[in-house]
Amino acid sequence: MSDTAEKVKKIVVEHLGVEEAKVTPEASFIDDLGADSLDTVELVMAFEEAFGVEIPDDAAEKITTVKDAIDYIEKQKGG
C-alpha cells in the first residue's frame, strides 16, 4: 500500500470512528462507513490539510470511496 493510501486510511479511521479493517479501497464513505454529508465535507477538509492539496467542491463531490480519495490525491501530488 502506498504512503498516500496509508495516510488516507488513518484519516478516515480517525474522523469516522470506524475499524481499520472496514476501510477498504472500495468502501463508500456514506454507504459503508456511516458518514453523512457533513462528515464527508469534513473528511475532504482533513485530506486537504494533511496532504497540502486543494480539492474544489466539484471534485470533492466525486470522491465517494476511499479509492477515489487516494487516486485524486496521488494525481494532485504527481501533477
Binding site: L16, G17, L38, M45
Partner: protein, 427 residues
C-alpha cells in the same frame, strides 16, 4: 401551575441528571454539597495570566464511577467534534436523567409525546472563538462543517432528541442566567397544556473559556479577590463578597404528566406546582431597585402554585455573590414573606458550585427537589459575616435539617429577566 383558573394537567419530576463542579450524578453531588464541599478551583484549561479572574467551577475529570467526567464514556469520539462542550454536558445530564426515570419508549406514539427543552445562556462560545480565530488567521476555508451545529443553543435539545428518538416538541430557552428555570417552567406548561406527556428539560453551559471569562471580567461581574483561595470566592450575602464565580455544567429533569407517571409506576421526586416570570425593564445588567422584578416573579409563582409564603419552607436563592444583587434579592424575599420569613430557610448553592449561568436554574431546581426529598437545606458556604442581618435563615456554612415540603427556586438574568419555580413533595 396557572393563575387564571384553567385546570391544567399535573406535572411531576421523575428523573434528574447533573454534571457540575461537584461532579456527576445527583447522589454524589448532593452528598458533597451537604458535606459543605466546594467545586471552585483555579482554571487550568487555558492561560488566565492576562485576566483578573483566574478561578471557576469546572466539571472535574475522572471516571463515571468516581463521579467525574470522561467524555469518551458518554459520547463516541466521532461525535464529540460535532458538539461544543455545553452540548456534551447536556447529553451527560440527559443520559443520567433518562436512565433515572427509566423512560426509554420504543413505540412511536410515546416518542412523539416526549419532547425536549434544554437551554443555554451563551451556547458554544469556545467553538465560536476557535472558528473566529481561523478567520482572523486567513484560514476561513478551514472552518468545520460542524461549526454552526456545534455552537447553536438549540442543538442541545436537538442532540438529545436524536439520541433517544424523542419526537415531541423540540424547543430551547435563551434567557441568560434565568434560562434553567424558564426551561423547566415552560416545559412543565407544555405538559400541563397537553402538548406533550414527557419533557426532558433543563439547561447547559460551558462558558468557562477565555472569551467567556474575559467578557464577564470586562462587565466587572466576577470575583477577583480570591484567586489564591478559590473555595472562598463564592460567598453570597457575606460582607467580603466581590462578584460571582463562573461555573459550568448541566442540569436536566424528566418532567412527566402525573397520571402518565403513576400508570407506569415511575418514581416521583416532586411536583412542579408553580411558575412565575417578570421583566425589570430597567437596566442591561443591574437589578431594579428593591429587586421588584424578582418580587413580582416570586409572587406570580406562589399565586400559580396556590400557596402562601408561609407554606414555603425553603428558597434556593439566585444569590450570585455580587455586592448589589444578593441584598436586593434578600430584600425582595423579606418583603414578600413578611413575618413568615422567620420560618424560612434560604441558601445559595452557588457558594459551592459557582454560577452556572444558563444551567444554574436547572441544577438549583434539582438541589431544591433534593432538599424536599431529604428534608435538609443545603448550606451557603463562606457566609461568615453577613453584610446585613435578616430574620431569614440563610443556612450559613452547614446544612440544616428542616421540614421542607415546598421549595421555591429563583433565577434572574441579564436584560432584566426573572423566573421563579415552585416544587412540592411528591403527591
Amino acid at each position: 401551575m396557572f393563575q387564571n383558573g384553567f385546570a391544567p394537567r399535573r406535572v411531576v419530576v421523575t428523573g434528574m441528571g447533573i454534571a457540575c463542579p461537584l461532579g456527576l450524578g445527583i447522589e454524589h453531588v448532593w452528598k458533597r454539597m451537604l458535606n459543605a464541599e466546594s467545586g471552585i478551583g483555579s482554571i487550568q484549561s487555558f492561560d488566565t495570566s492576562a485576566l483578573p479572574a483566574k478561578i471557576a467551577g469546572q466539571v472535574p475529570a475522572g471516571t463515571k464511577a468516581e463521579g467525574g467526567l470522561d467524555i469518551s464514556e458518554w459520547i463516541p469520539v466521532k461525535d464529540q467534534k460535532k458538539m461544543d462542550r455545553f452540548i456534551q454536558l447536556a447529553l451527560v445530564a440527559a443520559e443520567e436523567a433518562v436512565e433515572d426515570a427509566g423512560w426509554r419508549p420504543e413505540d412511536e406514539e410515546s416518542r412523539c409525546r416526549t419532547g425536549v427543552m434544554i437551554g443555554s445562556g451563551i451556547g458554544g462560545l469556545e467553538t465560536i472563538h476557535e472558528a473566529a480565530t481561523l478567520a482572523v488567521q486567513g484560514k476561513i476555508k478551514r472552518i468545520s462543517p460542524f461549526f454552526i451545529p456545534s455552537a447553536l443553543i438549540n442543538l442541545a435539545s436537538g442532540q438529545v432528541s436524536i439520541r433517544y428518538g424523542f419526537k415531541g416538541p423540540n424547543h430551547s430557552v435563551v434567557t441568560a442566567c434565568a434560562t434553567g428555570v424558564h426551561a423547566l417552567g415552560d416545559a412543565a406548561r407544555l405538559i400541563a397544556l397537553g402538548d406533550a406527556d414527557v419533557m426532558i428539560a433543563g439547561g447547559a453551559e460551558a462558558a468557562v473559556c477565555e472569551l467567556g471569562v474575559a467578557g464577564f471580567c470586562a462587565a466587572r461581574a466576577l470575583s477577583t479577590g480570591f484567586n489564591d483561595t478559590p473555595t472562598k470566592a463564592s460567598r453570597p450575602w457575606d460582607e467580603g463578597r466581590d462578584g460571582f464565580v463562573m461555573g459550568e455544567g448541566a442540569g436536566v429533569m424528566v418532567l412527566e404528566e402525573y397520571e402518565h407517571a403513576k400508570a407506569r409506576g415511575a418514581k416521583i421526586y416532586a411536583e412542579v406546582i408553580g411558575y412565575g416570570m417578570s421583566g425589570d425593564a430597567y437596566h442591561i445588567t443591574a437589578p431594579a431597585e428593591g429587586h421588584e422584578g424578582a418580587y413580582r416573579a416570586m409572587k406570580a409563582a406562589l399565586a400559580s402554585a396556590k400557596v402562601t409564603p408561609a407554606e414555603v419552607q425553603y428558597v434556593n436563592a439566585h444569590g450570585t455573590s455580587t455586592p448589589l444583587g444578593d441584598d436586593l434579592e434578600l430584600e425582595a424575599v423579606e418583603r414578600l414573606w413578611g413575618d413568615a420569613g422567620k420560618g424560612l430557610a434560604m441558601s445559595s448553592t452557588k457558594s459551592a458550585v459557582g454560577h452556572l449561568l444558563g444551567a444554574a436554574g436547572a441544577v438549583e431546581g434539582i438541589f431544591s427537589i433534593l432538599a424536599i426529598r431529604d428534608k435538609v437545606a443545603p448550606p451557603t458556604l463562606n457566609l461568615e459575616k453577613p453584610s446585613r442581618e435578616s430574620v431569614i435563615d440563610r443556612v450559613a456554612l452547614h446544612a440544616q435539617e428542616r421540614k421542607i415540603e415546598v421549595a421555591l427556586s429563583n433565577s434572574f438574568g441579564f436584560g432584566g429577566t426573572n423566573a421563579s419555580i415552585v416544587f412540592r413533595a411528591a403527591p
